[in-house]
């Protein structure tokens, strides 16, 4: 018979008392784990969406809204193309890539599409003025330990339009088809097509992204400008900062540089989801606070009641030689077991809840996060031990003469 056996046998003797005293902790941990799992996965989803959108910053005409742009940026408002040169010449820290675009409606074999003119990256290196600009000896942003879009071989294929929002080479008579356009028009690589009165060869087809890009046809910016007779204008300029922090710093600098344009971060696209994430994150902290208060108070009260119930037993144990430290450990260990068990069960319930209802609740797939689970169980155990400390200490201070008193 030792401390552990005494704790275990006492717990087994009073199963309902165990359940009721640890219920608050169990529910609190379950709620906390479920909310945190959904929040973390939702945040990851936002981050993934941001990454898939590519550009950190958009420079739009003053009157255009971000929604207009992503609804196909065909609102008729434009910016002078020289803004691209101004951005490049300014040599702002953290600018990694600049992609001007001009979009307009067009018909491809009877199919309504959005024709988007883009400037391939090779055009930048061909411009003498830009070669001397700071872009090619760019000032690195302090936060950019790792570039968000390192140039790679993939940039040389049309698919890079999906991954990095730019393309290395695109001849003036070449086009790249979005997935929907390719599917519905039945054109494929190497085909010759008529568009806005011009003749183009299909360079490639993009894979499906689930965005408006699927219904776009990409061509050289200057070709689109010529065919549309729009002059040297663009619908939007996408700027990729080397990291999210850089994007944040760049917005005020670009706004100052281009006062007639509207400069926004792409994160505003997912603002609603970010808002929901913030709410859930706040809720999880509220749950944590409630867990500490209600769970801790509930367990402290249960242990204090247990000490009162067992006064005679404590007195007897002291009479037969148990030290005050032994008595204190008896109750602390009981609390530790309760916290550990309630925390573990709560964690499993929370995990199952998050995995099962996460997709319906927040539209994200939820996978278990072992670190979070271990932290939640650890926190519950620590909370239980801390809550039991005072009643356990009171138990250790009880008068052993209680053993002589009548019940």
């Amino acid at each position: 018979m030792n401390l552990r056996s005494l704790v275990w046998k006492e717990l087994r003797e009073r199963p309902w008392s165990v359940v009721s005293s640890s219920m608050a902790i169990l529910l609190g941990v379950a709620a906390l784990v479920a909310i945190r799992h959904v929040t973390v996965h939702s945040e990851q989803e936002v981050s993934r969406q941001l990454s898939s959108l590519g550009a950190n910053i958009l420079i739009l005409p003053k009157e255009a809204s971000l929604q207009n742009y992503y609804a196909a940026d065909r609102n008729g408002q434009t910016l002078p193309e020289e803004h691209v040169t101004e951005v490049l010449m300014a040599g702002l820290a953290g600018v990694e890539k600049v992609t001007p675009k001009l979009s307009m409606p067009a018909s491809l074999g009877g199919l309504e599409v959005t024709l988007t003119g883009i400037l391939p990256q090779s055009e930048f290196t061909a411009q003498q003025a830009w070669q001397t600009a700071a872009l090619f000896t760019p000032r690195k942003h302090e936060g950019c330990k790792k570039a968000s879009h390192e140039p790679s071989e993939a940039d040389k294929t049309p698919e890079s339009l999906n991954t990095t929002r730019s393309i290395e080479n695109l001849e003036k008579n070449q086009i790249v088809l979005g997935a929907d356009v390719a599917e519905r028009s039945a054109f494929s690589d190497g085909d010759t097509v008529e568009l806005l009165g011009g003749t183009f060869t299909v360079l490639g087809t993009l894979s499906r992204t689930g965005t408006v890009d699927d219904s776009r046809v990409f061509a050289h910016l200057h070709t689109v400008q010529e065919l549309a007779k729009s002059g040297e204008v663009v619908s939007a300029i996408e700027v990729i900062g080397c990291c999210e922090d850089a994007a944040g710093d760049l917005v005020p600098e670009l706004s100052k540089l281009l006062p007639d344009a509207r400069v926004v971060t792409v994160s505003q696209v997912v603002q609603t989801q970010v808002g929901v994430n913030r709410l859930m994150s706040g809720t999880s902290w509220f749950v944590l606070g409630t867990l500490i208060l209600v769970g801790g108070a509930s367990l402290a009260s249960a242990i204090a009641a247990n000490v009162r119930e067992r006064r005679r037993e404590i007195g007897t144990l002291m009479a037969i030689g148990a030290t005050p430290g032994f008595v204190q450990r008896l109750f602390l260990m009981k609390a530790l077991v309760l916290g550990l068990v309630a925390g573990t069960i709560g964690c499993v319930i929370g995990l199952l809840t998050a995995v099962l209802i996460g997709p319906q609740w927040a539209g994200v797939a939820v996978l278990p996060l072992p670190g979070l689970a271990v932290m939640a169980v650890g926190a519950a155990t620590l909370l239980a031990v801390m809550a039991a400390y005072w009643p356990a200490r009171q138990a250790a201070k009880l008068d052993p003469c209680l053993c002589f008193q009548e019940v």
Binding site: M1, R12, E313, G321, G325, F404, E406
Partner: protein, 229 residues
Amino acid sequence: MIRLENVKRIYTRHGQTVTALQCENLCISAGEYVAVIGPSGSGKSTLLSLLGGMLSPSSGRVWLDETSIYEQSVVARSTIRRERMGFVFQTFNLIPYLTALENVQVPLGLNGVSLPDQTARATAMLQRFGLADRLNHKPSEMSVGQQQRVALARTLVNDPQIILADEPTGNLDPTSREVVLKAFDMCHEEGRTIITVTHDATAAARAKRRLVLNEGQISEELSSFAKVA
């Protein structure tokens, strides 16, 4: 030897001071069998608590051989109780969620005895009290007499030199009372010191020395074994 030297225990309740026990000098030699008798509220439990190192005197000293026990730390007093004393209670004070065997193992566990030794010694002690078939019964599954025998087994399992008993036969039928008193006789024969507080005249008669407590004052009923100064 146990000695009380100018011991006074005072309680203050509702602003009133009550002297629960006052004793200038009381010696109990090793191996003595002493019964303490007296009416309710006379200070019997206070005396037992003082002797057991569980209640500090308001003044004076309690000696166990050459050790003034209240000048020791709380932990040291726990060790003294664990290693040298055994307690028998009127209501047995068995731990309700433990079996007979486990109850008897508790003092051994507190003394750091290994689990196999605990089981062997506790089983042997329960067999000695005729409880071999009740090892795995909980107190609620045993008769009152059996419970007191389990309590006696728990008291003796650590082989204490001193046994302090509080009304050990108070709740027992005559048969069970005889079992307890025989156990005390046997302990006395083995040379242990027994101090029992009792209302039971039969139990008191078995002791070799009787002390009378009245309003906190100790007097000797038979003066042939020790003196009360």
